[in-house]
Symmetry: C2
DNA sequence: TTGGAAAGTCAACAACGCTGACATAAAATC
DNA sequence: GATTTTATGTCAGCGTTGTTGACTTTCCAA
């Protein structure tokens, strides 16, 4: 019998520490794979994972403000600013002053930025697609359910907002 | 209808970029939650996530060698050494010279080390348990399948070794 | 006996988190 | 209109954790 990491099975789960530890290890090992492909591309440039994350969410919600991005990424403005500055300097991201509220900066990917984002995303999606195909649709649904249950409430809110559109 | 992120559904999966990007975001947000609880404990001490990871795997395979741990964690020996040195100095980890091969160092948690490992692990397992319960056994099985499919082959090997026992 | 593997150490560096302090502009409020 | 709050940007400094490169010691095995 294959190790599903789950015993019991009806309504109640008997979750042993061993099963939970297996899940923890799965998350650890899988996350390494998850970031491996874009990391390989990034290391050749002077960019890191933080640049990728910023570009990902700017692509997802074009025109989002710095404050929103800050909250989504869960880092300090100083940390994000270092990343954003280089992306803007290099012409990958454009920062437009808000029309209604001129304090706000709305972020957009330039054509060049969108190109890099696509390249990084494609590398990452390739692995994700392969994993989804290998595991099958039912597994994918479960995967998403567990991940969502694992999030902090604030992150889950961001996750939902992302779905519903900016 | 709830957004399962999966359309199609029988044998073939129609995976849109949107669905794959949703999966990527789920991994990102979930991983933040995954590490949040132990991180909170660690930040009060002078330890970081790297110390936690090392202790986790030493606990799982008591007596594993430095080289093995290096390979499991996927970092350089210099990076691991810095972490291990502090753990040994602080009496959390014991390093024993190999009996057969005296070049090898076999790593063990001390009683004190096991205590901290348990505290960190319990924090992390608490969230994992809640997520598993919320999602249900079928979802958990799928979660594990997708994660395993996402790993690099070498990581998958380590993951399997962990299951079968050292 | 010699080659190479395992381990440890030193130096230097980079990415990316953090805090604290401070400046500016503009919106919001009193 | 004056004051407060918000959004943003910037500077300095620091900590963790990753990297490379170079070098040494120990010791198994061919």
């Amino acid at each position: 019998m294959a190790d599903t990491g789950v015993q019991g099975g009806e309504a109640l789960l008997f979750l042993t520490d061993e099963q939970l530890r297996r899940g923890i290890e799965a998350m650890f090992f899988a996350y390494r794979g998850f970031t491996a492909d874009p990391d390989k591309i990034l290391e050749q440039m002077s960019y890191g994972r933080a640049h990728h994350r910023a570009m990902h969410f700017i692509n997802r919600q074009p025109g989002l403000t710095v404050t929103t991005l800050l909250s989504v990424l869960g880092v300090t403005k100083q940390s994000l600013n270092r990343v954003l500055r280089t992306l803007i300097e290099d012409g990958l991201v454009e920062s437009r002053v808000g029309r209604k509220d001129k304090r706000e900066r709305h972020l957009f990917l330039t054509a060049k930025g969108a190109d890099l984002e696509r390249e990084l995303s494609e590398a990452q999606r390739g692995r994700m697609r392969a994993a989804y195909r290998a595991a099958g649709p039912q597994a994918v649904a479960g995967f998403r359910q567990v991940l969502e249950a694992m999030m902090d409430p604030e992150m889950r809110r961001h996750f939902a907002t992302m779905r519903d559109g900016a």
